[in-house]
């Protein structure tokens, strides 16, 4: 692991929803241009953790955070951080496909437009490139003005990925991006993730252990708010150090 460049790192991260502690002393390093998977039983804090990386937890009113999330030598939770700018660099794809009720084109162009790009030619280029990267271009290039809601679930999710790519983030967070999709759409997204890591760093939460082992380079296993074990995916799935991890991946609980 030594020669991997760390892009994102949590240090003693504790998170509370009101009185309830959802993350306990989480230490995690995310390596650049690799895919990191977070696995663990339902309610163990995977979504909570991934939402710390782009501060979406800020939207939860009684959520309190201690510890640090270091991104480019800066604590994301320090007051000096411009959250809006940071979210441009750390994009997110949600569990449920959530395209805006706009056209396919306007969905992808939304981010760039918000960040000040007005030139139609440049936008056209971004839209095409992003849809290509998201492996959706071939299916929609002749109907970019159609409503995004008319796409299938899998297409909508790839559109959401394209929309995230359009703002050229460094890191892409994905919270169970395939849970609402059928196996074929899932396979498409998985192969997409594989392509994405050439240019991006991906963190993915998944319930599917086979998915984690297929797409990720590193895996973190979480249990009851703690990061139980983190390491190379192959090692986690073949010879984990922890008993708990072993029980989970062999399906004995969770």
């Amino acid at each position: 692991m030594e020669n991997h460049e760390t892009i994102l790192e949590t240090k003693k991260l504790n998170l509370f929803y009101g009185d309830k502690q959802a993350l306990i002393d989480v230490d995690l390093s995310v390596y650049k241009n690799h895919v990191t998977a977070l696995i663990g039983p339902s309610g163990c804090g995977k979504s909570t953790l991934i939402r710390c990386f782009n501060r979406m937890n800020d939207l939860v009113s009684d959520c309190r955070i201690e510890g640090q999330v270091i991104y480019h030598d800066q604590n994301l939770y320090s007051p000096a951080v411009d959250v809006v700018h940071m979210r441009k660099k750390i994009g997110m794809v949600f569990q449920q496909p959530n395209p805006f009720p706009k056209s396919i084109y306007d969905n992808v162009a939304y981010g760039p437009r918000v960040h000040g790009i007005k030139d139609k030619k440049i936008l056209d280029g971004i839209v095409e490139k992003s849809l290509m990267q998201a492996a959706l271009w071939d299916e929609v290039h002749d109907r970019l003005d159609d409503p995004a809601m008319g796409l299938s679930g899998g297409q909508q999710q790839r559109l959401c990925i394209a929309r995230t790519l359009a703002v050229e983030p460094e890191i892409i967070l994905m919270d169970e991006p395939c849970s609402a999709l059928d196996p074929i759409a899932t396979a498409k997204i998985e192969s997409l993730i594989d392509d994405l890591k050439k240019e991006y760093t991906v963190i993915i939460v998944t319930h599917s252990m086979s998915q984690a082992s297929r797409v990720s380079d590193f895996t973190g296993f979480m249990y009851l708010g703690k990061m139980i074990e983190f390491g190379e995916t192959e090692k986690i799935f073949t010879s984990p150090d922890e008993e708990l991890t072993n029980n989970y991946i062999t399906g004995r609980f969770g």
Binding site: N54, M56, L59, S61, V84, H85, M86, R87, K88, K89, G91, M92, F94, Q96, N98, P99, F100, P101, K102, S103, Y110, G111, V114, H115, D146, P147, A148, M149, C160, R163, T164, V167
Partner: protein, 313 residues
């Protein structure tokens, strides 16, 4: 064409279904009854006057001339001024309540706002007449005149009184504000959170998210709120009779007096209802109000349709 057999297939065959059908028929037929009555009573004068009913400026029961142009203008100007005051106010209040105000503040503000709905309009009229009228005469009207008076529509044409279209419109705005605000707020709050999260996660600011995603997505609901406010503004009578001066002339300024269609009906119906033609004429004004509401609602829907996102859905 539907024949009797087709209709019969729509009658539910279970007991609850039939009961509900029967009740629905009662309310539907009452609406039909009102329309028939309204149009029936109004038709003699409408037929006699023809287009002159709209274009005529003379209203005289003795000579039998019935033209509503000045009343129509009175109502239109009043409605326009009311909407110009009430729409931005209630929309911005709704946006604040839905997006920025902390939960407890929205919780405190909402009940009094909703209570305003229950106050009878005559109370608003009295409030306007005894309290606002003075304030308008001595402070508001002179202020508007001195700042914007060089534009003719803001000229204080009768400085000796506070009674004016603006006064009526202000009170009317206060009246419709609660409804429009509460409904708009609801429309904003029912926009799926997913949209908001998606937009914020793309690095949009809160305001950009509101402007570009939430407002357009809430637009159909906001339009409905506006339409309800608009209907109330057009149909309101009591407060207007007390505040707008009821002087049948062409208003030259929003600080001028005017005469609204509803006021005319209220003022004259008591005496003239026992005469056939005047009664028909007054009901014809009712028809005009109805048509005006219909056109406004259609316009509002059309505008809302243009503003809301994803028209194809």
């Amino acid at each position: 064409m539907m024949n009797l057999r087709d209709i019969r297939t729509h009658i539910p065959d279970d007991k609850p279904g039939r009961i509900f059908l029967f009740i629905a028929l009662i309310s539907i037929s009452s609406v039909i009854l009102i329309f028939t009555f309204l149009f029936g009573t109004a038709s003699p004068v409408l037929l006699k006057e023809g287009a002159g009913f709209i274009t005529g400026t003379e209203w005289n029961y003795h000579t039998g001339e019935y033209g509503i142009l000045l009343l129509l203008i009175g109502s239109l100007v009043l409605t326009a001024v009311t909407m110009a005051i009430a729409l931005p106010l209630s929309l911005f209040t709704a946006i604040f309540l839905a997006e920025w105000s902390p939960r407890w503040l929205a919780g405190i503000l909402r009940p009094p706002i909703e209570m305003l709905v229950g106050i009878p309009s005559v109370v608003y009229g009295i409030f306007g007449f005894f309290i606002l009228e003075n304030i308008f005469q001595y402070y508001v009207d002179p202020f508007i005149d001195s700042t914007l008076g060089f534009i003719w529509i803001f000229k204080d044409v009768n400085p000796s009184s506070g009674i004016s279209i603006l006064l009526a419109a202000t009170v009317l705005s206060i009246m419709i504000l609660p409804t429009v605000t509460a409904l708009s707020q609801e429309a904003l709050e029912t926009v799926p959170r997913d949209y908001r999260h998606a937009s914020l996660a793309l690095g949009a600011t809160k305001w950009e998210t509101i402007k570009k995603i939430i407002l357009p997505a809430a637009m159909p609901g906001i339009i409905t709120a506006f339409i309800l406010g608009l209907m109330r503004a057009i149909g309101e009578t009591m407060a207007i009779v007390m505040l707008m001066g009821n002087c049948l002339h062409f208003p030259t300024s929003i600080l001028d007096t005017g005469y609204a269609m509803t006021s005319k009906i209220l003022n004259d119906i008591g005496y003239w209802v026992s005469f056939d033609e005047p009664k028909s004429a007054l009901f014809a004004i009712g028809v005009a109000i109805f048509v005006m509401e219909f056109i406004f609602v259609a316009l509002a829907r059309l505008i809302g349709y243009r503003f809301s996102i994803d028209r194809r859905e």
